[in-house]
Amino acid sequence: MRARGTEPFVFYSAAHIVELTGRTARTLAELRDGIRAVTGSSIFHHTFGALRDRPFTGHRYHSDFARWAAEVLQDWPVAERLAFMDPTEFTSIRQLRERILQVIEDRLAEPAEPAAAPPGRQFHFNQSISLYFPSGREAWTVEELGEGIRAASVGTLFFHLVEARLRLGRCTNDLSSWLAESLQAPALARRLDQLDLLVPSAEALRGQVLAALGTAP
C-alpha cells in the first residue's frame, strides 16, 4: 500500500431536478406497462432515487414501486417481493428494470382480483435529471479520504458509494476503486466493497465507511 495515491480522489457534489413524465398507472398491469416504457432515468428515480431521498427509514420498501403496491394497491405479495429487491445489488438499470418486470409479471400471472388505485393515488412516473460537479475537495491519503467522508453531504456519500455501482458497472464504489488502483490497497478496498449500503441512516453509512477506513474518531 502506498502512503499517497498516484492521483487524488476527487470528491463530487451532486444535485438533481425531477421531471414529470405525465405518465401514470392505476393498476399493477399499468405499472408494468409504464416500467417497460419509461426511460432509464425514471427507473433510476423510483429505485436509487428513492433510497437517496429517504435516508432515514431502514428503507422499508427500497423503491417507489414497492411502496405504491403496498400502500395504495395493498397488493401485499407483490409489494413484499418488490420490497425485498435491493437496488444496490444491481449494477445496471437494464438488469434492475428486467427484474422488477419479472416480479410484476409473476404476480399478474397468479389468480388474484386486480386492484386499482383510488382517485388521486395513481402512480406518477417521474425522472431524475442528475448533475455532478467536483466539490473542490481532494484526498491523496487514507486520512484525507476519511476527512472528506466526514465532511461530505449525504448527496456526495450516495454518489460515491451507491450510484457508483451503475457508473462502474460492478459491485464496488468510487472509494474502493481509488484505494485499489491509486493507493494499491486491495484489502482496504475489499473491506469497503463489503459495506451494507442499506443501513438505517446516512450517518450510519458514514460511520461504517470511517470504521472500515480505520479513521473513525
Binding site: 444535485a15 414529470l20 405525465g22 431521498d53 435516508p55 460537479f133 467536483p134 465532511a151
Partner: protein, 412 residues
C-alpha cells in the same frame, strides 16, 4: 421589489456546511447568468413569502436577480380571483370582457416591466400572458404554477393554456396538480423557512408563555390541528376523532385557525365546530389573528400529535411545518400530503374519523413509535422541503435548461 437580505450561511447550522458549499458550487456553474422573478403581489400569500427568501438567497450566492411585481388594480385582481377559483374547479363565470381586461393588463405590464434576463420565471396565472412579449427579450422562460390545475373548468384552462405552451418549461408543486402539456414539466415542492418565526426553534419558556396566554394547560397530551375554519379541513371530523379517542386515552384538543369574522362561510363553520365541541373544556377553539406565527409555532411544538384531517388539500404546508418540528403527524391521504407523510415512516395516513381516532390512541400509547415518526419526519423535511432545498432545485433546473435533452449532466 427589493426584499431584505438573507445570508445562505445562516442556514448552515440547520442543513450543514457541506450542503451550503454544494449550493454555492452549483451557483458558480451559473456564473454570469441572470434571473428574474415576476408575480402579482409583494406581500401576503405563499408566493410572496417564498420570493422574499428565494430572491435574497439567489443574490447572496452571486446570481444577479430581480423581482418584479405586476400592477393590476382591483378589477383585474377580481378577474384573477375568479380565474383562480375556476382553475380549482369551483364554479365561476369568466366573461369575454373579463378576459379582455386580463390581456390588457398583461400587455401594459409587458410594456412597463423590464423583462430581460437569462432565466425569466413567471409565477402563477395572473402574469402568465407576459410571455407574449418574450420574443423581444430572449432568455429562457419558465411558468411556475403554484395552483392545483388538475381539475379546472375547461374554458378557464383552455384560455390559460394558450400562454403556458409558449414557455420553455413549467414547474408544478406536485405531480398530482398538473395537466398534459407539450412543454417539459418539472417538480419543485413548496418549502418552509426553518429560520422564520413560524418555524424557528423556540425555548421551553417561549412555548409556555404562548400556552399560558392562550389559556392551555400543558397537563395532558395536546392534539392540534392548525387550519382555517373551512369544511374542507374537516374540523368537525377532528372533534369526532378526538371524542372517540378520549374514550380510552387522556388528551386535549386544539383547533387553531384564522379569525372568521369577515368570512360568512368561516363563521358558519366556526359555529358548527362550537356546537360539535359541546362545551368540552378540553377542546380549545382558537381564532388567531393574522401574523400569529409564534403562536402557531408554539402550539405545534407543544403538541403530542398534529392532525391534518383535510378532505381536500393543496400541498399542505401546515403538515410540513409540523413534521419539521419533529411532531408525529396524522393526516388524510389527500393532495400533497402523501408526498410528505409516508405511512408508518414519517407519519400516519388516515381515511376516516375512526382511522384518525385509532391513530391518536396508537401514538399516545406508544410514545417511542411517535418519537420515531417525528424524527423521521424532520429528517425528510430537512432533505426536501426547506427553503434551501427549493433554492437548490431552482439552480439545478437552471443548469438543466442550459443542457436540453441531457439527463446526466457532468459539470466542470
Amino acid at each position: 421589489m427589493i426584499p431584505p437580505p438573507v445570508r445562505l450561511d445562516a442556514y448552515a447550522p440547520v442543513i450543514g456546511q457541506a450542503v451550503v458549499n454544494e449550493i454555492r458550487g452549483l451557483a458558480r456553474r451559473l456564473e454570469g447568468r441572470s434571473a428574474l422573478m415576476v408575480n402579482s403581489t409583494a406581500v401576503g400569500g405563499g408566493v410572496a413569502e417564498l420570493l422574499n427568501r428565494l430572491v435574497p438567497l439567489l443574490a447572496d450566492i452571486g446570481i444577479p436577480v430581480r423581482w418584479e411585481v405586476m400592477r393590476g388594480g382591483e378589477e383585474f385582481f377580481g378577474v384573477t380571483k375568479d380565474m383562480h377559483n375556476a382553475l380549482h374547479g369551483t364554479p365561476a363565470e369568466i366573461t369575454p370582457p373579463m378576459l379582455d381586461l386580463f390581456l390588457d393588463v398583461n400587455a401594459r405590464n409587458a410594456a412597463a416591466l423590464d423583462l430581460a434576463a437569462d432565466l425569466v420565471v413567471i409565477h402563477d396565472p395572473q402574469p402568465v400572458a407576459l410571455v407574449r412579449a418574450r420574443a423581444h427579450r430572449g432568455g429562457l422562460w419558465v411558468w411556475r404554477c403554484h395552483v392545483d390545475v388538475s381539475r379546472p373548468q375547461p374554458e378557464a384552462w383552455s384560455f390559460l393554456r394558450q400562454f403556458v405552451v409558449q414557455y420553455d418549461a413549467s414547474v408544478f408543486s406536485a405531480p398530482e396538480f398538473t395537466q398534459v402539456l407539450p412543454i417539459t414539466q418539472y417538480l419543485i415542492h413548496p418549502a418552509i423557512d426553518p429560520l422564520a418565526e413560524k418555524n424557528r426553534d423556540l425555548t421551553a419558556g417561549e412555548i409556555e408563555t404562548v400556552l399560558t396566554r392562550l389559556g392551555i394547560r400543558d397537563d395532558r397530551p395536546i392534539v392540534t390541528q392548525v387550519s382555517r375554519f373551512d369544511r374542507l379541513k374537516d374540523p368537525v371530523g377532528v372533534i369526532r376523532a378526538y371524542q372517540l379517542a378520549r374514550r380510552t386515552v387522556d388528551c386535549q384538543l386544539v383547533l387553531a385557525g384564522g379569525g372568521a369574522s369577515d368570512d360568512p362561510e368561516g363563521a358558519a363553520v366556526l359555529e358548527e365546530v362550537r356546537r360539535a365541541a359541546d362545551g368540552d373544556p378540553l377542546i380549545h377553539i382558537l381564532e388567531l389573528p393574522p401574523f400569529s406565527d409564534r403562536e402557531i409555532n408554539a402550539l405545534q411544538r407543544a403538541s403530542a400529535i398534529v392532525v391534518q384531517k383535510s378532505l381536500r388539500e393543496g400541498f399542505g404546508l401546515t403538515v410540513t411545518e409540523a413534521l419539521w418540528k419533529g411532531r408525529p403527524v396524522i393526516a388524510s391521504a389527500v393532495g400533497g400530503i402523501p408526498l410528505q407523510v409516508l405511512h408508518n415512516l414519517t407519519g400516519l395516513l388516515v381515511h376516516s374519523v375512526e382511522g384518525a381516532a385509532h391513530r391518536i390512541r396508537t401514538l399516545l400509547r406508544d410514545p417511542e413509535f411517535a418519537a420515531r415518526l417525528g424524527a423521521n419526519g424532520r429528517e425528510y423535511v430537512k432533505s426536501r422541503f426547506l427553503t434551501t432545498s427549493n433554492l437548490r432545485s431552482w439552480l439545478a433546473l437552471a443548469v438543466s435548461l442550459l443542457h436540453p435533452g441531457e439527463r446526466v449532466i457532468r459539470l466542470p
